[in-house]
């Protein structure tokens, strides 16, 4: 019936035709995924002149790190801007992450352990967050931020990212708390620990992977966010990387090596972070959807 029984090797053992289809498919996916990234890297080590040739230099004839040096040199204006954007992104993302963990940990714990009316609210908050695009919130949020005097401050971004990241962060963490047996806490409390002590001494350490996952999620989200940063900030010295790179491109429309080098350096921190910690992250992300 299936293809396996039709194709056989000389030894009469069936070749798994599907396995070969799978391999060819994977090679194609690798191409689709990796070629754009490789092209970004190859372009970033060309000179502006070398990048604009036809036929192109597939591999740069004279590789150069000039674009990277320019971006990282605090003594010229491009480097000054880039480093400042980088620092701004780092500050905003770190603050968002720290606050998200502080607010999400107790909330997730409560959603996991206590049975109070309105628990379902979490579920709907996650939905709301996922369903409604940022643009819907932009105009009123912009007005709200003006009211709070936060326009053109990093505070506006941190507050916004925190809010939009919270529901999923709570949801992720709740999955971890659900998996920690309640008996462990009960045992600690029988031994005289208060609920808070049991939480800090027993539950927190066990849920460390979940906290790490939540932190990565918040950090990557804040690091890559564009619309709010684009709308709330307009002073050059406050821009974060995504908006900063856009500004860089609009001022240097033909400097593709510079643009690719900037894109690479902007991607590097989150990609490294993700690859180091992907096990936790992937586990947390799928926990809710698969196991419940």
């Amino acid at each position: 019936m299936s293809m396996t029984s039709i194709v056989t090797t000389r030894r009469g053992k069936p070749i798994d035709a599907w396995r070969w289809i799978g391999r060819i498919f994977l090679v194609m996916m690798l191409f689709y995924t990796a070629v754009p990234m490789a092209w970004m890297l190859l372009t970033s080590i060309k000179s502006g002149f070398a990048a604009m040739q036809l036929p192109p230099q597939w591999l740069p004839n004279e590789p150069t790190l000039a674009s990277y040096k320019k971006l990282l040199d605090p003594n010229n204006s491009v480097g000054q801007d880039f480093l400042r954007f980088f620092w701004n992104s780092l500050f905003v993302s770190t603050m968002t992450t720290a606050l998200a963990v502080i607010v999400a940990v107790p909330a997730a714990y409560a959603f996991s352990r206590f049975d109070f009316p309105g628990r379902k609210f979490l579920f709907f908050a996650v939905l709301l967050r996922n369903m409604f695009p940022a643009v819907i919130f932009l105009v009123p949020l912009f007005i709200l931020m003006r009211l709070l005097g936060l326009v053109n401050t990093h505070g506006s971004l941190i507050l916004t990212y925190l809010t939009f990241g919270l529901p999923l962060a709570i949801w992720l963490l709740k999955g971890f708390y659900d998996n920690i047996p309640y008996q462990l806490e009960q045992a600690a409390r029988i031994d005289g620990a208060t609920r808070f002590q049991a939480f800090v001494l027993i539950v927190m350490p066990l849920s460390a992977p979940g906290i790490v996952a939540t932190a990565i999620y918040s950090f990557i989200g804040a690091w890559n966010e564009y619309i709010f940063a684009y709308t709330f900030l307009n002073k050059n010295e406050q821009l974060t990387l995504p908006v900063g790179i856009q500004r860089f491109f609009s001022e240097n429309t033909t400097d593709f090596p510079g643009l690719m080098a900037a894109s690479f350096m902007m991607s590097l921190p989150v990609v490294v972070l993700f690859l180091l910690l992907q096990r936790y992250f992937v586990r947390a992300l799928t926990e809710g959807a698969v196991k419940h």
Binding site: L30, F116, L128, I136, V139, N224, I245, M266, V271, V290
Partner: protein, 319 residues
């Protein structure tokens, strides 16, 4: 109060049932302290803007956004939108964009998850490489692809010319016919890894014994997939497809950075169009009315989303 709960007699119990929600809420009042910070922040930043958007959709405001000068116009904003040609063009784009992106991202993600589902040398590395596009910022991805699609020096044009398939590099994102498919390719590039991750996790729930038993009984690879693996993936697939659909419907960065909606609205989708109306042309009332329409569409989508999620949840519970 709390301590007495166990001792209430019958009439009091009936009363408690009538005020069940409040009563329970009171009994659990301290539990709310844990969620209070999260709820306060979300009320300010989510609930208030929703209310405000609905209100503003019935007004016109001057470009300066001096809100005291706003003028009540009833449902005129909605009438203007529904009778404009651009609206229908953008709506068609949005649906093509959402459906095509979701279908391709899901299919490629499923294929990758299945192909990576057995041990082989280098599997971990391959999986990591396939996930990277999902982690890269959409802004960086947009610029990488803008450069690949470049109409003079882009990689795709160079390859096509090099192979003799084209005389000169094609104008992929500057022409009305090809812009939307070209952007969908970029979007799928960024999104299929998400489907892959979700489905990889889903595959862990397929019992090995069942697959082995099916093999012993002579089931081929396709039969094993269709009769054993696939039924186990249904819950995850539903969730994944809906999450993808919603996030595609809400896309902004890729079209905004790569084309700004052009040429002649060919790559405008709802969100980019709303953004341009609000922040580009300062037509806040119309943009708000647009947002409300978007909202209603999403509510409809969301209805199915909640139903699918809760039925997936119930299935897990029963299993």
């Amino acid at each position: 109060m709390t301590m007495a709960t166990g001792l209430v007699d019958a009439p009091l119990k009936a009363k408690a049932k009538r005020f069940g929600f409040l009563r329970q809420a009171w009994d659990h009042r301290f539990d709310y302290l844990y969620v209070l910070p999260a709820i306060v922040v979300m009320l300010i930043v989510i609930a208030y803007p929703i209310y405000y958007t609905v209100e503003l959709s019935f007004f016109t405001t001057p470009p300066s956004l001096q809100l005291r000068d706003k003028e009540f116009v009833g449902i005129d904003n909605y009438g203007l939108i529904l009778s404009s040609d651009v609206f229908w063009r953008v709506t068609a784009n949005t649906f093509i964009w959402t459906l095509a992106s979701t279908a391709f991202a899901f299919t490629l993600g499923l294929g990758s998850a299945l192909a990576l589902n057995h041990e082989f040398l280098g599997r971990g590395v391959l999986r990591a490489i396939l996930i990277i596009p999902w982690v890269i910022s959409a802004v960086a991805a947009s610029y990488i692809w803008k450069w690949i699609y470049h109409s003079d020096f882009g990689l795709i044009g160079a390859v096509l010319v090099g192979l003799g398939l084209a005389e000169r590099p094609p104008n992929l994102i500057d022409s009305v016919g090809t812009v939307l498919p070209s952007l969908i390719v970029v979007n799928v590039w960024r999104e299929f890894p998400f489907a892959m991750i979700m489905l990889t996790a889903g595959l862990q729930t397929v019992p090995d014994q069942l697959l082995r038993a099916a093999k012993v009984d002579g089931a081929g690879a396709w039969q094993r997939f269709w009769h054993v693996t696939f039924p186990h993936l249904q819950g995850v697939s539903t969730v994944t497809i809906l999450l993808l659909a919603v996030s595609n419907f809400n896309s902004f960065i890729i079209p905004w950075i790569m084309t700004g909606g052009g040429p002649s609205n060919a790559s405008h989708i709802w969100i980019t169009h709303i953004y341009e109306l609000a922040f580009g042309r300062q037509r806040w009332g119309i943009a708000s009315a647009y947002s409300v329409l978007l909202f209603l569409t999403l509510m409809t989508l969301g209805y199915f989303y909640v139903r699918a999620l809760s039925s997936a949840e119930n299935k897990e519970r029963v299993a």
